[in-house]
């Protein structure tokens, strides 16, 4: 009993009570300021491109969102492999948090890719290799999130999702190759694929700023998402503990009542 109390006390000391800290506040403020700067430079200050015209402005968001999504899935894969090796909650929650954010950024990538398509091709969707690859991979990772949403004990859930995290990441280069060869048969203007714009000056600044800002944003979201997941686990544990204690209380009360009844009968 004493050991349990001490352990519970030490858990409370270690477990954070909110998802915010000085570091995340700095990250958050930097991301918001960075996004504002990106809008100013990307939309107003930088000139249109000679070839891509105004659509180059979508590049300042498209490249960062897709890069961050791939980085997130790489983190999911590393977290999955490390979980299967070390079997610690940290790696499982890191993998899951990164996958969730990766899916959001993949969704954004498809959205801004479709906007580019509407301007360039006149339609929202064509079977352009990069967009197609993104759509297939998005569905793969939606499966990962679906498995995580199934109620199961933490070890089971973590093992299942670690396997999917690894199976999915290995598929990325294979999907890329297959889609590239397939669409290579009828080559058309691809999203920032065939045209390499000569970016310089404020254009280059906006492009690199976009990458830096979205990396900051990703780090900020990842830390918060990880902490939410960690606290959710603690809440589930304490909820279970409280429920058990409640049932025990009820059981002891009812047995006490039964004893007093039987004494009264006598």
């Amino acid at each position: 009993m004493t050991t349990t109390t001490t352990q519970a006390a030490s858990d409370r000391r270690v477990a954070p009570t909110s998802t915010s800290s000085t570091a995340t506040r700095v990250l958050g403020i930097s991301s918001v300021v960075g996004l504002a700067l990106l809008v100013i430079f990307g939309v107003f200050v930088s000139p249109p491109d000679a070839e891509l015209g105004q659509t180059i402005r979508i590049l300042y968001m498209h490249v960062p969102t897709v890069s961050v999504a791939y980085l997130a899935f790489l983190i999911t894969a590393v977290g999955s492999a490390m979980y299967l090796w070390k079997r610690t909650e940290f790696w499982d929650l890191l993998a899951a948090s990164a996958a969730e954010i990766g899916v959001v950024f993949f969704g954004l990538t498809i959205l801004n890719g479709m906007l580019w398509g509407k301007i360039t091709w006149g339609v929202f969707w064509r079977w352009e290799p990069r967009l197609t690859t993104t759509a297939v991979l998005l569905l793969t990772y939606l499966g990962y999130l679906a498995v995580r949403a199934i109620p199961a004990d933490p070890r089971t859930r973590a093992t299942r999702s670690a396997a999917i995290g690894l199976l999915a990441v290995v598929n990325i280069p294979i999907v890329h190759k297959a889609v590239d060869w397939w669409r290579g048969l009828h080559q058309e203007r691809t999203i920032f694929g065939t045209t390499k714009p000569e970016i310089q000056g404020t254009q280059a600044f906006a492009a690199y700023l976009g990458l830096a800002v979205f990396l900051l944003l990703f780090a900020w979201l990842l830390i918060h998402r990880f902490r939410v997941a960690f606290l959710a686990e603690r809440a589930a544990e304490s909820g279970l503990g409280a429920a058990i204690a409640e049932r025990r209380q009820e059981a002891s009360e009812s047995s006490a009542t039964a004893v007093s009844h039987s004494e009264g009968d006598r």
């Binding site: 199976l167 294979i174 297959a178 397939w182």
Partner: protein, 230 residues
């Protein structure tokens, strides 16, 4: 006494594959349910696309592989459905068989069933869609490598969802996006074999081979944790 090492794994795989195929021979689920379903979809595609030979003819390789993928989902569900009930997976684990052996055995049995299905489907497509089968060597290469990939990925995900209550809806969501490159490669390879496309066909076989090898290896490695904890 059991043999250890690679020979042990192969022996275990042969045992499990034999057991699965025996189960199939006795229950005839593949023959009485999966195969009629596949033939039904072949028929439904013709209704959906009009029996106008030009539309149907152009789409034949893609439709063929779509039917194979749908049937594969059913075959995987069946293969692991029998293991998921009554804690049979735990019994398999306790029987002393190696996890990679169990995995490879399940994959081998799936491959045999899928290859048989693909053979019958090819005849059905030739008859109903009027497809002239040519480029046999390339066709065999595409079919074999694609089947290895489908069975390996199916076997891994089958093991993963075996104990999940909603596995019937979950399996297609997990398996089909993973098999997207197999569908692309097998369809293009078949188009080349049938003379519908002038491009080279063997690179597709190479890509299918890589897919199959990668998922066979990953599945064999991941099957132990999946068997123990998933």
């Amino acid at each position: 006494m059991r043999t250890e090492g690679v020979r042990g794994v192969v022996a275990d795989a042969a045992l499990v594959a034999g057991k699965d195929l025996r189960l199939e021979r006795r229950s005839k689920v593949g023959l009485s349910q999966v195969l009629p379903f596949a033939l039904l979809v072949i028929l439904l595609f013709a209704f959906a696309l009009d029996p106008d030979r030009r539309v149907l003819g152009a789409a034949t390789p893609g439709l063929y592989w779509m039917v194979v993928l749908f049937s594969a989902v059913l075959a995987v569900q069946r293969s692991f459905g029998v293991e998921g009930e009554d804690d049979v997976l735990d019994a398999l684990r306790l029987s002393g068989l190696s996890a990679p052996g169990i995995f490879l055995g399940k994959v081998a049995a799936l491959m045999v069933q899928l290859l048989a299905l693909e053979f019958v489907l090819a005849i059905a497509v030739a008859v109903f869609y009027g497809t002239e089968i040519s480029g046999i060597l390339l066709l065999v290469g595409v079919t074999t490598t694609a089947t290895v990939g489908i069975a390996a990925a199916g076997g891994t995900y089958g093991g993963l969802v075996a104990r999940i209550r909603g596995r019937d809806t979950l399996l297609p969501l997990l398996l089909l996006p993973l098999l997207a490159p197999v569908l692309i490669s097998a369809t293009r390879g078949t188009e080349v074999a049938l003379g519908r496309d002038a491009g080279p066909g063997w690179p597709w076989v190479g890509l299918l081979g890589i897919f199959g090898a990668v998922y066979l290896t990953l599945g064999a490695l991941l099957f132990r944790p999946l068997l123990e904890d998933a």
